[in-house]
Amino acid sequence: MRSTLSPAVAERGPLAAAAEAFRLGAAQTLSGWPVLIGRCLFYVLLMVVLSGLWDKVAAERVAGLAQHARVETFVLYVGATEWITLSIPALHLKFEDDIRGGALDVHLLRPKPYLLQAVAQCCGWAFVRMLALGATALAMLNLSGRAWPSLQALAFIGVLGVFGALVGVLLYALAGLGAFWARRVLPFQLIVQKLMFILGGLFAPITLYPPILRRIGAASPFAAHLYWAGVQAIRPSLRLFLTGLAWQALWVVLLSLACAGLWAAGVRKVLRAGAA
């Protein structure tokens, strides 16, 4: 008796599977809606504290900031950077679980690249979070009575925020792929997180830094992750938008190549040794 289940395959590229993984990632986040609401409430709490801080700075003209004419807009900057930060899922922990827990075997048995699917799934998670947190941000802005940025600035923040989130996902992916060589990826994640804080300008724009640090920061992937979207809340301009987009595109390419390289090296190790 011959199979009615004989393979009926017209091999296609990996993008259809990645798109499905993105959709499932989004569905996964939506299915955990109580957690999503909790995340939005945490965002509100953070912004209440941080806006209090920046409003005080603006009111008292803290030394060194006097030359920044629009310190009050720093609240919007932090709102944008926190919007991106809180949207990024812990992809590094998923990689650690899969690589160290043995689930990698299941993924290696499939014909489509797991790395691309995992990143796509993570982008699906991030996308839904960005929508929910974005709506929360706009609601907070409305309730706070602050001046709204122009529509153009909001559009620039939106576009740079989405690409910034992609850079963030890739940075965490890079940290997570360390699981091929280290039992725990927390140290890598902490390094990435601190660099996001320092060079990415999480709480304050890197334009406040000394010139040399500012230049290093602006060219780093951490600024591509956070700063370039945030700066549109302070100084919206097409030139800065395009500059930011260019840096983000560059870092998406470089980080993708780095992830692919680490993945290939890690898989080679697992295929030889049987486990990470």
């Binding site: 009615t4 393979p7 569905a27």
Partner: protein, 325 residues
């Protein structure tokens, strides 16, 4: 019949560093090499259902991993469906289905239907073919009511039915099953075994199964390969193995009396705790129902359990016999 799996002198060695004793040892760790699989060769014909059994650490999973293409051998060769697994992993992936009893391929938070939809894309399945296959499998496995529930809410047996469905959706010619019934209750095990046997028979699939449960082997497979310490010690049809080695059952009786004395040919009492009597029954000589009837006639029985001897014991016996030959 054409060969589905062909293995020649396959060997896998693992090397790792271990700190030797003393201060010097910490500075210069010694390199240790172990042979997980050693020079094994066998052929599996298309449509055959074969079990690889052996105690923990015997090399079953290592062999399975090499044949799936997710582990490179240290020496030797293998062809699975005409492909070298570790060099043509992607091409092979379209043609094999794999179930790891202890690892899920489904997304826990989402309904199984969502995972199946992803697998359709992963395996580039035509939508109409996919829907037909899913319908067939769903009907055979009674999945209609399960598919829309989040996987983490399913029982282990229900999840395993979904896992096997997931591994069959792309129509594999060869199915690898690593401990497919582990942790399941008796009813769930029976359902899984029936399904695997009937599906493989109806669709001409080749099955390669590893298990610690002798019933999986007896009820699903036509042939058994026994491995121990990385080597094949027995390779024979299941019927023959059953006659030789799987003819023993353990009957465990819990009784009010400290000990039950049952004197029948083919029945041997094993050492046990008070109020528990463990009888080893040679089913070629004594019938299980007769032994139980004899025990019930003694009265005061609180509980009766029938078990297969542990796989380790069976394999030890097989190994001992193989050595004597």
């Amino acid at each position: 019949m054409s060969s589905a799996v062909s293995v020649q002198q396959l060997t896998k060695r693992y090397s790792f560093s271990r700190a030797a004793k003393g201060f010097g040892g910490a500075l210069a760790p010694e390199k240790v090499t172990i042979e997980a699989v050693c020079d094994i060769s066998f052929e599996i014909s298309a449509g055959e259902r074969v079990a690889i059994i052996g105690p923990n650490g015997a090399g079953k999973s290592t062999t399975l991993k090499m044949l799936c293409g997710i582990l490179e051998p240290s020496a030797g060769g293998a062809r699975v469906l005409g492909l070298v697994p570790w060099r043509e992993r992607k091409a092979l992936a379209y043609r094999i289905g794999v179930v790891f009893g202890q690892r899920s391929q489904l997304w826990g938070e989402l309904p199984a239907r969502e995972s199946f939809a992803l697998l359709r894309r992963v395996y580039d399945q035509d939508a109409a073919v996919f829907v037909r296959r899913l319908g067939e499998l769903s009907e055979r496995f009674g999945l209609a009511e399960l598919m829309d529930q989040p996987v983490h809410r399913l029982s282990l047996g229900q999840r395993m039915r979904c896992e096997i469905t997931a591994s069959l959706l792309h129509g594999p010619a060869l199915l690898f099953l690593d401990e497919p019934t582990i942790g399941l209750d008796v009813t769930a095990k029976a359902a899984i075994r029936d399904f695997i046997r009937e599906h493989a028979r109806d669709h001409g699939e080749t099955v390669l199964l590893t298990s610690h449960d002798t019933r999986d082997i007896e009820l699903v497979c036509d042939r058994v390969i026994v491995v121990d310490e990385g080597r094949i010690v027995v390779d024979q049809p299941t019927d023959q193995l059953r006659r030789t080695f799987l003819a023993r059952k353990l009957i465990i009786l819990r009784s009010q009396a400290p000990r039950l004395a049952i004197d029948m040919p083919g029945v041997v009492a094993r050492p046990s705790e008070p109020h528990t009597t463990v009888l080893e029954v040679d089913t070629r000589t004594a019938r299980i129902d007769q032994v139980i009837a004899e025990a019930l006639a003694l009265g005061g029985i609180d509980d009766i359990t029938i078990e297969d001897p542990p796989m380790e014991e069976v394999v030890r016996e097989i190994y001992a016999v193989a050595r004597r030959r």
